[in-house]
Subunit: 229 residues, 2 copies
DNA sequence: CATGGCCTGATTTGATCATATTCTGATGGA
DNA sequence: TCCATCAGAATATGATCAAATCAGGCCATG
């Protein structure tokens, strides 16, 4: 009977706050630190430094670091040295290729499962994204842009490809923030509306193509910013 | 002075024996256990079981498991349960798509750097692979086939795409062994010679296409074996 | 009286920490 | 310039604590 059980679910502000194991919490916090550029690329990462900064024991920190290394978000430089990797032009080419392949395919797959309310959800995110751009809210733009793509991944119900795609965000995310600080929000690409329109009209190939273009344009902004920086 | 230290290097057969950190050694051994199907898909993996089996402390085992979970080689099923994931038809579709995209692209990129001696190295591996097929040596076939692809990845000098591609091997490797036990080695695909010929004649697109076909055919063998099993 | 669900406690397993050990990189003297 | 010493950080262990699973018995019910 559903009378008891499942009480006081409301406590905790962020969804990350629940009584998850410490290593999981440390992992997420550290990942966000990296993703939001609060640990700059090239900067070394020490275990003991993190135990203080995150107020956690060594074992959880250690596991979080290993995990992020495996995901490519951190770089293990042989001699016990760990740092946030810096994005090179060559790496960017690889990332563009992989993201094109993954995001377009996932968009195509999402079409098979998508419902009208799913599309509305995407439009909501995109509308919020427009507001963030108009307001010059860079952090909001980055967050919502990621959320838009991430939502599509979820709809595709393709766990492996989603894993791969999310993993790529960890690799260029740290540089995104640096880059956007220089570029501003005025001419950021947003082909999301084209993708949504294609989904609505029942054109998965068109949607996939639009998303692919969105990815390319976004990554090209990064490239120019990197080369001029 | 090299007089002392570094004595009796000869013990231990594999090259994995060197004085690497324990967590690294544990990681590799565990990865091989998974890759060679010695831990069957679906079978649970416990930390304490591995500390005994691999004769290591808890911390290194723990780190190795986290790493393999992050790489998708192990599956963390909510409540502390860790196991080798089982390959479904849907997962196989995703893997085929990703491998097609990655292997073909990496072959193309390898062409830019490839030398005559590199090609000879590939031919050597492929010749050994033929011998393994003729001898019905399944394990040898699997090992050499992986080595062939892996060599190409190395030549491409694309660290991110290589990471992704190697990660995929961890996902279907465990099932490969099971599958090949049923199929035998007679009609295993080997389009490597076409790829090598294309590389030799200076045709990167042809080489990429050949490798893509090789991947597809190999994965299709897995698919039929999975569906009939 | 037999059966099935539920509860409880024992055991297994995971999570975390404090600590000992080893290794790296740097510094300073020969 | 090179080597030895030294500080500091990472690696690794085992102990301890907490959580979850499983088994077996109890009670209610048919």
């Amino acid at each position: 009977m559903p009378a008891d059980g499942d009480m006081h679910r409301s406590e905790g502000a962020q969804p990350e706050d629940a009584s998850l194991p410490t290593h999981e919490r440390v992992y997420r916090r550290l990942r966000n630190l990296i993703l939001w550029g609060e640990i700059a690329p090239g900067q070394p990462v020490t275990i003991q430094g993190l135990t203080e900064r995150l107020d956690a024991g060594m074992t959880p920190v250690r596991e979080a670091i290993r995990r992020l290394i495996a995901e490519g978000a951190l770089d293990f430089q042989g001699n016990r040295r760990v740092s946030v990797p810096e994005l090179t032009a060559a790496h960017l080419d690889e990332l563009i290729y992989a993201r094109k392949a993954l995001d377009s395919r996932l968009t195509e797959m999402a079409f098979s499962h998508i419902t009208a309310s799913d599309i509305e959800g995407l439009e909501e995110i995109d509308a919020a994204l427009d507001r963030a751009i108009a307001a010059g809210d860079i952090r909001g733009y980055l967050d919502l842009n990621h959320r838009f793509h991430s939502r599509i991944y979820t709809l595709a119900r393709a766990s492996i490809l989603t894993d791969l795609a999310e993993g790529l965000w960890l690799r260029f995310g740290p540089s995104l923030r640096v880059v956007c600080g220089r570029v501003g929000t005025q001419n950021l690409p947003d082909l999301h509306k084209q993708a949504i329109a294609a989904l609505r009209r029942g054109d998965p190939t068109g949607a996939a193509h639009a998303m692919e273009q969105d990815v390319v344009q976004g990554m090209e902004v990064v490239r120019t910013a990197l080369s001029t920086g």
